[in-house]
């Protein structure tokens, strides 16, 4: 089920219309346009408090062209569960119930709800677009913030490793877990389509550069996302419960070998949030990156 560039244009209908409220160069809307666009005929979105509750726009000019339920910050996976169960009772099993939210809800405040839905094997897909911060509250540290990154609440750089939600969901018996990137849309769409074809709880975590909070040039979004993969800091992989095997995704394959990786500073230097990263922090970030690789290698 390979997805090509041509497939990206071949969608049931546009998921994102003109007039959304996202910032220039938003990695999340780029991912949204393609990920949700690919399944736009059958999707019902559940959106927790997030940038997406803002960039969807409002009133008659709303930009989301798919049915969307906005929920409280920590409520989305439980609301999605209710929608799924109701659809089941109505005989509408073909509807794809998708939670689209950031890492604030996905990694922090909503994680109990998320694990709860995973534990119950709810037939939903949770997509976390991770901009590594609380985006629309002005960029505070989240559980998914990179080591060394300056945020509004870590003005001298974040010191602790990321909370790896994909691993948490693997441990909690999700049906399918994958990471993806706004820089590799074919890979993202492939994973979204694959996930919704499966029954059970699925999680996809997308690296979504955020120019205002990352202090990056809005023109560099795709470049930064691709460099995150090429430096190894954002490994792209998928894991299937049935096989219990992690498969490194094609764009990431080459970079499993540390010798092939682009120097991490190529990635950090494009982002103001990481410009002041200290040597120690850089080392910690590298260690944390390796910790992630070592974790997924156990399933390869």
């Amino acid at each position: 089920m390979k997805v090509t560039q041509k497939d990206l244009l071949n969608i049931p209908k546009k998921a994102l219309l003109k007039g959304h409220f996202a910032c220039a160069g938003c990695g999340s809307t780029l991912a949204f346009r393609h990920a949700i666009g690919a399944i736009s005929d059958k999707v019902i979105l559940v959106v927790p408090a997030s940038c997406a509750s803002v960039y969807q726009g409002g009133g008659k000019g709303a930009a989301f062209n798919v049915p969307t339920i906005n929920t409280a910050f920590a409520a989305s996976d439980a609301v999605a569960s209710g929608v799924r169960r109701a659809m089941k009772m109505k005989g509408l099993d073909d509807r794809k119930i998708v939670v689209w939210g950031g890492d604030g809800s996905g990694a922090d405040i909503g994680i109990a709800t998320e694990i709860g839905a995973c534990d119950r094997q709810e037939d939903i897909l949770h997509i976390i677009y991770s901009n590594n911060v609380y985006g629309n509250t002005g960029g505070q540290r989240s559980g998914d913030t990179m080591i060394g990154a300056k945020t509004a609440t870590t003005p001298y750089g974040n010191t602790t490793p990321r909370k790896m939600v994909p691993f948490i969901m693997m441990a909690n018996n999700a049906r399918y877990v994958a990471t993806a990137s706004s820089g590799y849309l074919e890979d993202l769409v492939y994973k979204v389509k694959k996930a919704v074809s499966m029954t059970g709880f699925k999680l996809i975590q997308i690296d979504a550069p955020c120019p205002p909070n990352w202090r990056s040039d809005s023109a560099d979004t795709v470049k930064i996302a691709q460099l995150a993969v090429k430096t190894g800091v954002w490994p792209l992989f998928e894991w299937d419960r049935e096989t219990n095997i992690v498969e490194i995704s094609r764009p990431s394959k080459k970079y499993e070998d540390m010798n092939n990786r682009v120097n991490l500073t190529e990635w950090t230097k494009l982002q103001g949030r990481l410009k002041t990263i200290t040597e120690d922090q850089l080392k910690s970030l590298k260690d944390d990156t390796e910790r992630q690789w070592n974790f997924i290698r156990k399933f390869m």
Partner: protein, 382 residues
């Protein structure tokens, strides 16, 4: 024509479960907390035994219990949950979200006090904290009324012109775990009373790409809240209608549905309260009358919407109100008293009001205590 009933002994919680079973919700999403637990245990049993064709979501918290119901309500199916005390507090933001979001959810609250200190017994502090959440609140006095009110709640909430969630409230243990006789109509008759939820107030689907709860400016926001206020007003009439219909169908009524008067129309003293204290107060009225004292009683059944007109009309004829609250708004007074004083003042009624806080933390409130309070109030009259 009044339908046939079977006399059955059951707890108040069982009465709530029976009503929910007979109303046939499609999704039940629930989390255990004492003293609500046996309601949802029964329902899970009904689902597992195939008596209730519904999805039962065994969630990991109350926050998710209500969220699950919200997802179901947005999808246009009948939905039910129940909670108590800390559980109600834990679901707080979703309580407001579903009220302001106009989701027709029915959620009995088995009233229990709030910690600290730890106590599982009854007072009304929990549901009173949610009087501003846009939910219909009906306080019941006994097991029979729990059954009837849960059935009515579906009708009220699912009325398109109302579209508000309902909170039938029942005192923990005194009702929830106490066995009493309930005249139980058949499942079929009960369902006929409630009816199919065929014309949902809200329904998400792929054919209609609506956005629910998205960004709004102040103009739309105020319009929505104004409509909520008006829906509450419309709910008053609906509750009165439901009460009449209950009478025609089941042969029982509760006052006019909003308030219930016991004793003479005019008396020297009127005891005003809610829930089981109001039931006990009836015995107090009888006792006081035996002693030659002039006392009647007004039970406020519906607290939201607040039955201003009915309360004022009755209070106007009477001389003094003794309002017994089983909860407190700290820094002010009992909530029922505050609201009654407000409507009397607004309507320029000078009937005097005295307030008493009783029964906090599960303190037993037998009629003797109410009699004593009433006598004191009579002495301090004028």
């Amino acid at each position: 024509m009044v339908v046939k009933h079977n006399k059955k002994s059951m707890t108040g919680n069982d009465a709530a479960s029976y009503a929910a079973l007979f109303a046939k919700p499609k999704v039940v999403s629930a989390y255990p907390i004492t003293p609500q637990t046996t309601i949802i245990e029964k329902l899970s049993q009904y689902v597992d035994e195939g008596k209730l064709d519904a999805e039962f979501i065994i969630v990991e918290s109350e926050h998710s219990a209500l969220a699950g119901c919200m997802g179901a309500a947005w999808s246009g199916v009948r939905t039910f949950t129940a909670t108590s005390s800390q559980g109600l507090l834990y679901m707080a933001e979703n309580v407001f979200w579903s009220g302001y979001g106009r989701l027709p959810i029915v959620m009995p609250v088995v009233n229990r006090c709030l910690a600290p200190g730890w106590s599982i017994y009854q007072d009304l502090q929990d549901s009173m904290a949610f009087r501003d959440a846009g939910w219909i609140q009906i306080y019941t006095k006994n097991n029979q009324e729990v059954f009837d009110t849960v059935l009515q709640a579906f009708r009220i909430s699912e009325d398109k012109s109302i579209a508000l969630p309902s909170m039938p409230c029942l005192d923990g243990f005194v009702i929830s775990h106490t066995t009493a006789q309930v005249d139980l109509p058949s499942a079929e008759d009960s369902f006929n009373f409630v009816g199919e939820y065929s014309d949902p107030v809200i329904e998400v689907d792929t054919e209609k790409p609506w956005i629910f709860g998205g960004l709004v400016g102040p103009e739309k926001f105020i319009k929505d809240r104004t409509d909520l206020m008006e829906a509450m007003e419309r709910a008053k009439k609906k509750i009165v209608d439901m009460n009449k219909e209950l009478g025609e169908y089941f042969g029982r009524t509760y006052g006019n549905g909003l308030i219930e008067i016991y004793g003479d129309d005019v008396a020297d003293l009127t005891i005003v309260s809610m829930g089981t204290i109001a039931d006990e107060a009836q015995d107090a009225v009888d006792k006081l009358k035996e002693e030659g004292l002039s006392v009647n009683e007004m039970r406020v059944r519906t607290f939201r919407p607040f039955p201003e007109e009915d309360i004022v009309e009755f209070a106007k004829k009477n001389h003094k109100l003794l309002v017994i609250d089983r909860s407190v708004s700290f820094g002010h007074a009992g909530q029922l008293r505050i609201e009654i004083e407000a409507v009397l003042h607004r309507n320029k009624v000078d009937t005097s009001v005295e307030g008493r806080i009783m029964g906090l933390g599960g303190e037993d409130v037998p009629y003797t205590k109410i009699v004593a309070a009433a006598k004191e109030a009579l002495r301090s009259r004028m």
